[in-house]
Symmetry: C2
Subunit: 370 residues, 2 copies
């Protein structure tokens, strides 16, 4: 069943929108109130390119929340359980952000651009509202706004070569999540060694939306020797890699979850600093968590997606929730992500997933799958 | 140019999703992280039904932010410049919500369900994050969550007859924005005389998402004598009526605007109570506003939509912004909404709108058009 997407004034277009249309984009979703490409008509080819070559993604919908001013770093630290005291300028870090009850409300990559400027490269929720409310209520000297910044990703084993062709061989020495402010001719951008896949690559944070098409074409041209082509964040690869999708795997309104359940426990630093949700997370840590994040294989004919969370069961009893499923070409299997009660072991039998078309046996698997 | 919408795990399905698919929905957009129908393949017929009959809309994406607890009403009042002191249980009110700088961040209908329970029926932004942050930071005794509530609208001149057939003739006496908690057999709901059109009608706030299809069919059956049919919030009618679309006409990140500029000045009560943004709005009121909300006619061949804001100009000078345009069948004209500098008068000549396909003459018009 396919439906058209309504292109209207209430959803924003990416700086790369026209470029992706010219490259044959076939489907969009909406993320942070912005259209984001879904696929370009060749899902298998796009998966292969990500795993074996290099893919070019419009991820401008990964908006930046900029904290600017003397208290920028203090606000950033207050927003996350993760200890930022050792974070240097030019380095990013993946951070959970929690509400006062300890539930995750976003999981951005935080980029420390200066001692008074921080970006949160956010997943799909209005974190700018949260950060602005906290900053103002605490009386911090900080502005919270969304700057004109549009990330593009190049991902895959050949992304390093493309980045080196564009920026020079020094990029090969960049550590994961390191970034630099730079430019391609007159196109200002931040180059970061990051991206929402486990295949390696870079994100180019374009800092002038008017130059989206110019940057897209420039990257495309540089990538030709490695057969670069368009793509988008890939459901199969992200489940294989065990990456979290805020909005699918948890969402405050639908599937509330705390960072311990989500496997982010090592990022929660209860004793090093004050942060929103600390007392709630301390209580949760003391009581012990009730659920844990798991992967699972679905037996039987291929399952290519999951459109809404469904129950994981043992016999007739709900013991968890399945939040996403995709077909893995590399594993030749249907694989999924979810949360189960901590009493359920990896080797437990008799588990099923309550798909809309009927229940299917599942067996749990450690993450990542690959 | 048409594109498919990606149906995936990271966007929620409405309680009426399956019902609208069965009724032939052809396009969706995404609103509050949920699919919302765009049209059902007959835009002219759907416009006509809204104006002359009765239309049935899935507006479940208009999510509720529930404030519950002893401080619910106090938090609601803190969130809006509009004075709520005279608001009684069973009555709703359209309210701007502003950030600390006085910029509008949402424009929900507020429903006072009890002295300790309030719903904010929100436009497209994560107001639950804002409200939760403010409530917790102020130490209020209130929970902020999104309950299982899914609004459906019946709109148009025959909506009153359909509501009377469903609930009884007493609904004819309900005042605008009045509501009652009621049920249709075992389907619990709040019935409100409201809706995002100027054609009159009701919203049925279903309080059990599992009964979406049952309610949809029940309303459809009751509406048959008046030829009820599916539809969706209508761009043409909303512009004709001068209704604000948060996300199109303003959005904190893209087109920030304060309530005075947006024509909501009468809802700002600077002296009656404390609220977020009061000192900023007082400064703005003292200084005088720089822009005002306007309608405009676009001359020349029909313009059927606007996909991103564009400049309004006098000669070569930008004097404002156009935020949406649609074709009005009733006016036989292309009409739009936007903001212009206060120095620009309704009768000023030489104004143009910088459409992507080229500039067009416009003339301003008072709101509403109809």
């Amino acid at each position: 069943m396919t439906f058209q997407i309504h292109i209207g004034a209430n959803v924003r277009k990416s700086a790369y929108f026209d470029a992706t249309v010219a490259d044959g984009v076939r489907s969009f979703s909406v993320y942070n109130h912005m259209y984001i490409p879904g696929h370009f008509g060749d899902p298998e080819g796009e998966y292969d390119r990500l795993l074996n070559g290099v893919a070019q993604w419009d991820v401008a919908a990964q908006r930046q929340v900029e904290l600017a001013g003397p208290d920028a770093v203090a606000l950033a630290q207050l927003l996350t359980p993760r200890d930022l005291s050792s974070l240097t300028v030019g380095q990013g870090r993946y951070v959970p952000v929690c509400d006062h009850e300890g539930m995750v409300i976003n999981d951005p990559v935080l980029l420390k651009l200066g001692k008074d400027r921080v970006w949160l490269s956010v997943a799909d929720s209005d974190l700018h509202l949260w950060a602005a409310a906290i900053g103002a209520e605490r009386g911090f000297d900080v502005s919270v706004r969304e700057p004109d910044v549009s990330p593009m990703a190049i991902q895959g084993p050949k992304a390093m070569d493309v980045a080196a062709a564009l920026f020079g061989d020094h990029v090969r020495d960049m550590r994961p999540f390191a970034f630099v402010e730079t430019a391609l001719d007159d196109i200002p951008l931040v180059l970061a060694r990051s991206g929402w896949s486990k295949q390696g690559g870079f994100e180019l944070y374009l800092m002038d939306g008017a130059k989206g098409n110019a940057l897209w074409q420039r990257v495309r041209k540089a990538g030709e020797p490695w057969n670069i082509g368009p793509g988008a964040p890939n459901d199969s690869e992200r489940i294989e890699s065990g990456l979290i999708s805020y909005g699918a795997d948890m969402r405050r309104q639908v599937v509330p979850a705390n960072p311990f359940e989500m496997g982010m426990g090592k990022m929660v630093s209860l004793d090093s600093h004050d942060f929103i949700g600390r007392s709630a997370l301390r209580r949760i840590a003391d009581a012990g968590i009730a659920r844990r994040r798991v992967g699972f294989f679905v037996e039987g004919s291929p399952v290519t997606g999951l459109e809404a969370p469904v129950a994981l069961r043992r016999g007739a009893t709900d013991v968890g929730i399945a939040t996403d499923i995709a077909w893995s070409g590399r594993l030749d299997a249907s694989i999924g992500l979810g949360l189960v009660e901590v009493g359920i072991g990896d080797d437990d039998t008799g588990l099923t997933v309550a798909l809309p078309e009927g229940s299917r046996p599942v067996r749990l698997a450690p993450l990542p799958f690959l």
